[in-house]
Amino acid sequence: MPNMSLKKNEMPSQDPNVRNKNFLEVALGYTEEQALDEAARCLNCKNHPCVGGCPVNVKIPEFIKKITEKDYEGAYQVIHETSSLPAVCGRVCPQETQCEKYCVRGVKGEPVGIGRLERFVADWHNAHVQEAPAKPASNGHKVAVIGSGPSGLTCAGDLAKKGYEVTVFEALHLAGGVLVYGIPEFRLPKSIVSKEVDGLKALGVKIETNMVIGRVVSIDELIEQYGFEAVFIGSGAGLPMFMHIPGENLCGVYSANEFLTRINLMKAYKEDSDTPIMPLAGKTVAVVGGGNVAMDAARCSKRLGAEVYVVYRRGMEELPARHEEVEHAIEEGIIFKTLHNPVEIHGGEDGYVKGMTCIQMELGEPDASGRRRPIEIQGSEFELPVDCVIMALGTSPNPLIKNTTPGLEVNRKGCIVVNEDGLTSHPSVYAGGDAVTGAATVILAMGAGKLGAKSIDEQLSK
């Protein structure tokens, strides 16, 4: 008999006033009892619309059924058939616009907590199953993967399982891409990412860090001199955008990328880290932007002891960040200044930020993106005293690979152009993830990594 409660089991979390002072994970994960209770809410319906809502088509009702049978490892194996990073996706996927959006239970009441169950299963596996996956026999084909973010790791994993000799080239000193430099510890503990990377190594994947492809070796050289038969580019969208307003280069103005990299990758919040970050205790920070990255930057600033504003030109309804992230930010005491836009940043004699002039906005008719266009209210400028400004306006792909790979076609925005198989204009080079789409989600990048692996396999096994 299914559990007919209209409400999801709530996610146990650290108290907002405790967690906004530490970097430990916010959501604590379901207990076994909660997981069983939540799993019993799934009707195991015939059409399982949730599966179609998942970019990698995880067999959701099947894994949930395994939970109800208390076969947690079985549930993990079901997820792992199609998703290479379950512990990551269970934490950072926007389930509310994917699987859970289509859940039948959501018609009347709340959908099944699919993401929370996925996380439960993945964490159970990580805690209880020690044995590394067996390394498959080599099929003799060499494939290079550029970038070790979600798309690259997924592509590498899928190919390694099929016996390909895969080498992943990472520009930074640590594998994981945005999972390690972008998403904060309190949303995605780095130990989870390193566990996933270790899993790939056990499959025989070689990870070469400190390799800036395009500088130390080009893609053509990988193919011609190093014997790689195919290349997958998953180099992401790493270039930060700025507003190009006066004062943007003052001390104390960061791109969200820099701010988050200093904190997440370089651990600047820890006493023993050699990497500095502006001391923010007792200071005021304005984060400009309304996406998930803006929420991450705001919540990190709060944890460093700052009073934090999120300055966004549209309204609360239009915030592109996940609803859950916005809610968490509000609970933690972040102040939202929506319908506001920065016009100029001011500094003192010393070159540090002192304040920011903002203008109030109102929403007009919908624009090309379908969202209502923000319009400045003339004469509504005012001064917001702040010590630090973090620009979280989005990112675009790094032009380095394009500039060093003759014949690689990119579009107007610098995104690599691919066909429906993920193939670029270069005959043995595939691409996927943010490098192709511009900044998007972890799961979409994973989907693209899977497609790349499938297409490479088809090409090389001909």
């Binding site: 104390g252 990328n257 070159g351």
Partner: protein, 280 residues
């Protein structure tokens, strides 16, 4: 991990390291830089490439012991390893079409001026290498310098070696003597570069400067190294490190360079104290 093949103290605080990095050595060009991390907790710091040996597979860097990270780096001995070493980053120095140039270096910047001078000299360009040091104790690499140029000029701030002269004075003398340079390449402390540019602008000699602002990743990802050049924001790591010296906003660059000054002084002190304790 990257092995230190040779370590040489040029002065007590100016250290040369030759690092085993065959792939970087194969691609490195004068003007480019590397980013290194000494150990697991280390920060990423950019250092311009001083020299490279493609056959031996090594890259040399010269650094001044100025803060916690360089202090830690100096604790590494020959045969030991540093955690991370990535490059070559940035664009190589190009002086297209130049027949006669002045390469100007100050302090630790002379280490960077060297490979550029050598490359141009090998290409048959007339190179006047003009270097300045604080005093005679910190004069380094003279034999290398002399082999990498047509004429070599050196001055010290206090006159304790050769003569008392700033690089700007040495440069202006040559210009006034009719050197007729096609261009000047300049690298060193920010204030020195600023004043060299002020001088060359007066004589309308195109001047390329090599910038080394604060960086994290060095691949265009963080934007921490941004500068205003000709009214536009540029990233030194991917758009540079060389820029048209007449267009750089020097005051902004100087201020940005000191962004973590207080923190760095504190960290340097803490690191030195830690080392002292270990020694006891």
């Amino acid at each position: 991990m990257y092995r230190i093949v040779t370590k040489k103290a040029l002065t007590p605080t100016l250290i040369l390291l030759e690092i085993e990095a065959p792939m970087i050595a194969k691609k490195a060009e004068p003007g480019q830089f590397i980013i290194l991390r000494v150990d697991e907790d280390g920060e990423r710091i950019p250092i311009t490439i001083h020299d490279f040996d493609r056959e031996k597979g090594t890259v040399s860097i010269i650094f001044q012991i100025v803060g916690a990270t360089t202090e830690k780096l100096n604790r590494k001995q020959e045969g030991e390893y540093i955690q991370d070493f990535v490059g070559p980053l940035g664009n190589a120095t190009e002086m297209p079409g130049c027949k006669k140039v002045a390469v100007v270096g100050g302090g630790v910047g002379t280490a960077i001026a060297f490979p550029v001078a050598k490359k141009l000299h090998n290409q048959g360009v007339h190179v006047d290498l003009i270097v300045g040091f604080r005093n005679k104790d910190v004069v380094v690499l003279e034999d290398e310098f002399k082999n990498a140029c047509t004429n070599y000029f050196v001055g010290t701030d206090d006159g304790s070696y050769v003569r008392k002269a700033l690089v700007t004075e040495l440069l202006e003398e040559q210009i006034q003597a009719g050197a007729n340079y096609d261009a000047v390449f300049c690298v060193g402390p920010m204030m020195m570069m600023k004043f060299v540019c002020k001088l060359t602008e007066k004589y309308n000699i195109p001047t390329v400067v090599s910038m080394s602002p604060i960086m994290v990743d060095g691949t265009g990802m963080c934007g921490g190294c941004r500068l205003t050049v000709g009214g536009e924001t540029k990233f030194a790591c991917v758009d540079g490190p060389d820029f048209d010296g007449f267009k750089v906003d020097w005051d902004e660059a100087v201020k940005r360079g000191k962004m973590y000054g207080a923190w760095e002084r504190h960290k340097h002190e803490a690191t030195c104290n830690l080392f002292k304790k270990e020694v006891k």
